[in-house]
Symmetry: none
Subunit: 416 residues, 2 copies
């Protein structure tokens, strides 16, 4: 089954927005064994959009379209797809009810253009949008399926993952395609590859298994893909590849699915009935933010301190003035004092701390931008470790946050 | 002058890589007044690539192509562009010398496939690649210009910025293309459009001005675009459109460029020599995190409290136990007590607070998931406002954080 992706919007054509939808859709289609052959981006222009529809219709069985479904004048996708499929718009009551309920929950007054979002193609199937007002739609003719989704990424993802992919999985015929992603952190991509060594020990030599390294600022994902015709044989190959990777680099792998590190440490804390607090300087609340992204985190996370100013470090966490004077705010001694101070002040079993120089200013030859001390404290021990997270402020905060969570994971699993 | 962008590579079609080249090229073309009409992505497949060349040749004057210029077997762009322009490859001595020098500097042993990179189309113009081995090339016919560049982003950028754009700036005839983006928050897309009313009062009726609404979970961008032949006339139209938008919806517009709200409030605090602290429950540190994303934020942000557990609210911020017992942790009274407590504990001029139910659990009929109170406190006044941010935990945190920053902006500008 082949696919094309059409993304619509002037903002894409002027480069104001990087087209992440395209890559997301392609990756998801690929994960269910659908082969994306082309991606096209056009502006909010009727002739261009219709030309893109026509060309894609001639080439592909599955066409995923995003953008131009909003309530304003520049949103013309719905009208054009109706014309293309020779149908017209009718009011869809369930969608209308959904829009009204959503508006009520969010305390929004509805106007006509909101209500018009409940108009859908007469000869189409509505794809519900649980997180927004614009419904998606499926139109079919001559074995072609056009899936139309909003351009807002989280609305698009919701529809794609929970409606379109299950739908396509049923329609798809023949090949088995299995994936598993192992997420690693605390080791660079090349060093990870080096650690794994001869790749054929992982993927074999018959070409049915592939391994991709997908690095990002906070770690490297390893994606194993197995293609085949026999489900059981493909499963066995997948398990073999995973076991070899774990044998060679298991200590760096924190998750065997799409779970983030904050979910992993949340689970570990829950299992051990331990509570956690944070004391952050350079990360500015980012560690607490990630921890609290997890539903149920209030069960183990008591709270945190963002001690940006030195007075806050002293007053809230009891870091001695003399320690700051002797060692500087970015030091092993202060990281340790912050962690043990946060533990005492909060009453948590464990506290994490971070102090560093996120830049762009504030670096010195001895303590350059990028330097970071991460601290840990529990009833038995308090310690801090030194890191260097580079000179991009946003990246620095991301990497320091990930390393702090990884430090906690390793400690909870008695790996350090 | 119109343009299209063709990006080539299997890694794009499986979604392994996000296509940042596309957006970069589009933005740069746009900056010199060249109108990008379409972007196409195809794999490393001869038929698909040639089809993309043919279609782009029929539609656009400028075609920018990246990818498939490397030394391995899947790099076929150079051969295909030669076929398309009916020419063949010849050795280009300056490029060969450059490759040899580069290899020597980098201590690389050259193999035949490296030397073959110095082969260029006989009827083309070589675009030098100072930072890599693959030369770029320009091929021209019937007023069409095909610029072929490597897919490696920094090599592409080097060629585009230092060779292609200067070249196009000279060739370009006539059109002026101007943009301005206004960022709004605190109002939905439809209500914003409604507030603005008749769109022709903003964009006129001659078709030279367009207005796009670009919504995301934390606000809506409005992008004005003016096309014309006369720079001064286009400027005047842009200013007119902006002034109408500001007149009708000015209070919701927090930035007239790509600056985020945390930069805007940082600037306002600096100008007023005011310091800030935060007290966060439901946002879990996200407010402090955004504030500290701004370089120099340590100049006005003293720190924050993430008081997830009620004990922390009482102990760190002095929220009276009775207030929590009487009103619940998610209440106007607690939001106010948190804000004034954080101000006292930190010594900051201003404190912001957030308490709410991020979900998925913890909601009741009276206090459903999504409910949030945002508090503000300074020496003159302390107050809290009620919001509803929906039932997706991650979106809830994003939206609450944005609303807290917007509340501060409005207060600093005496808009509330």
């Amino acid at each position: 089954m082949t696919a094309e992706i059409i993304t619509i919007g002037d903002e894409l054509l002027i480069g104001q927005i990087i087209n992440t939808n395209q890559a997301y859709i392609a990756e998801r289609l690929n994960s269910v064994g659908i082969d994306c052959r082309r991606m096209t981006t056009v502006g909010d222009d009727a002739a261009e959009i219709t030309a893109a529809f026509t060309a894609a219709f001639d080439r592909a069985q599955v066409v995923c379209i995003t953008g131009g479904l909003g309530p304003t004048h520049d949103d013309i996708t719905k009208t054009l797809v109706c014309e293309f499929f020779n149908t017209d718009l009718v009011m869809h009551e369930p969608t209308l009810e959904h829009i009204k309920a959503l508006a009520q929950r969010r305390n929004i007054t509805l106007i006509q253009s909101n209500l018009d979002q409940a108009l859908v193609p007469r000869n189409g199937t509505v794809i519900p949008n649980p997180v927004g007002t614009a419904p998606g739609m499926l139109l079919e003719r001559d074995g072609r399926m056009f899936f139309v989704m909003p351009g807002v990424p989280y609305e698009m993802k919701e529809m794609l993952d929970n409606w379109i992919l299950p739908f396509l999985r049923e329609r798809r015929t023949g090949t088995v395609l299995l994936h598993r992603t192992l997420k690693s952190t605390g080791i660079g991509e090349s060093m990870l590859a080096h650690q794994i060594g001869d790749i054929s020990s992982v993927i074999g030599t018959d070409g049915s298994v592939t391994l991709a390294f997908l690095p990002n600022p906070i770690g490297t994902k390893m994606r194993i893909t197995v293609k085949g015709t026999d489900e059981a044989a493909a499963q066995a190959k997948l398990l073999h590849a995973e076991s070899v990777l774990r044998e060679k680099a298991g200590q760096y792998i924190y998750s065997d699915d799409e779970k983030d590190l904050e979910h992993v440490i949340g689970q570990l804390l829950k299992e051990r009935s331990l509570t956690l607090a944070t004391a952050e300087s350079c990360t500015g609340g980012a560690i607490a933010h990630r921890i609290t992204n997890v539903p149920g985190s209030s069960g183990y996370f008591l709270g945190g301190f963002v001690v940006y100013h030195n007075d806050m470090k002293m007053k809230q966490l009891g870091v001695p003035q003399q320690t700051i004077a002797d060692h500087g705010a970015v030091s092993k001694a202060v990281a340790e004092a912050m962690a043990s101070g946060a533990r005492t002040a909060s009453g948590a079993h464990i506290a994490l701390s971070a102090t560093g120089i996120a830049g762009p200013d504030g670096g010195t030859p001895e303590k350059p931008v990028g330097l970071c001390w991460l601290g840990y404290s529990d009833a038995e021990s308090t310690f801090a470790m030194k890191f260097s997270f580079g000179d991009n402020r946003i990246r620095f905060k991301e990497r320091a946050t990930q390393a702090a969570l990884e430090l906690l994971r390793r400690k909870l699993l008695k790996m350090t």
